[in-house]
Symmetry: C2
Subunit: 199 residues, 2 copies
């Protein structure tokens, strides 16, 4: 409640439902929008309407797309026999920013969770298994978060792909670039020590 | 950059310009919006378009309004001879949430600042002085932030209203309700001690 006119109140309530914004920051954001009606609010309304109109899930990999098949799946140059499995579109974007992976993706959209009734079907794992066979995939790289749920899901996928002929790999664990040992948790140090390499 | 389709990239860039959201949280918010296209994105686009269409500044007090004169200035019941001066619409909303002030407002839209070339004219102070005369105002309550800029502006307004016949008051300074002394700054404790009252 902020005693603003109804239209503005509605906008504040909707903005407060965005991750990272609470009621207070939603009010601040809306005031900023009202102040910058021409330069920010109107373009934002139009951009949202455009995305609402066009955004969908890629039918192949579940990436966010504006066509049925996303740009990565549509690009022949990305058919290099590698599929990188990520939990979320945000993780796919993070991989793309690194600009080092040249293959295609499979976006799970979450991790296995009995509690939330998320099984292999919800994560599209049977579809991933079919893609591996159909697209002649030689390597599936599991780029899941290094959390318990992420690792449980990774093991399930590795089992599901056991007879597929594709190699299943996962991202290396170790010290992040620029990381200081003093700030790392024990698990990371243990993993980095176990995977130590000769210089 | 997130290698998303152009429409989504545009939306991320615009969202990142909102106060409280950076590039990373803007990406998260946009992914959430894409996931909740029907329940959040579309209503938000419509709410923004409605506000962009209708929002304006109240010609009397500079509050945010959807008509030329805001609801508070339009209400005869709020003409009680008191005007509360606030820096920002967010402050007006905070006063209204407290639901204790029954008069009208004047929104400065900032504080005096030689550096940013914000003078009395930009803050509508001459207009405030005219309103005090025209509306038969008996008390002007300065509810400015307890910052150096806020207090400088408060003194300027008090001087400008010196010959108007209206009493100029300001919010009391002291210990906030529920406040613990140990967490208060020295200035607040000094102000609270100076303004102590007999029980």
């Amino acid at each position: 409640m902020s005693d603003a006119p109804k239209e503005i109140e509605t906008l504040i309530e909707l903005m407060a439902r965005l991750p990272g914004l609470g009621p207070r920051s939603a009010r601040r954001a809306v005031l900023q929008l009202v102040r910058k009606r021409a330069t920010l609010l109107r373009p934002l309304a139009e951009a949202m309407a455009a995305v609402a109109e066009n955004a969908r899930e890629c039918v192949v990999c579940r990436n966010v797309a504006t066509r049925d098949v996303c740009d990565i799946c549509a690009s022949e140059r990305r058919a290099n026999g590698q599929i990188c499995v990520v939990e979320d579109v945000a993780d796919l974007w993070a991989m793309e920013r690194a600009a080092v992976f040249k293959g295609r993706y499979h976006v799970l959209g979450g991790t296995l969770s009995a509690l939330d009734a998320i099984g292999p079907e919800e994560l599209g794992i049977p579809r991933l298994v079919r893609r591996v066979a159909d697209e002649g995939v030689t390597e599936v790289i599991l780029a899941l978060n290094a959390t318990v749920d992420g690792q449980t899901t990774a093991h399930y996928i590795a089992d599901a792909l056991a007879g597929s002929g594709a190699t299943v790999t996962s991202l290396a664990q170790g010290v992040p670039v620029g990381g200081e040992l003093d700030y790392l948790d024990d698990g990371t140090i243990t993993a980095a020590l176990r995977a130590r390499k000769a210089l």
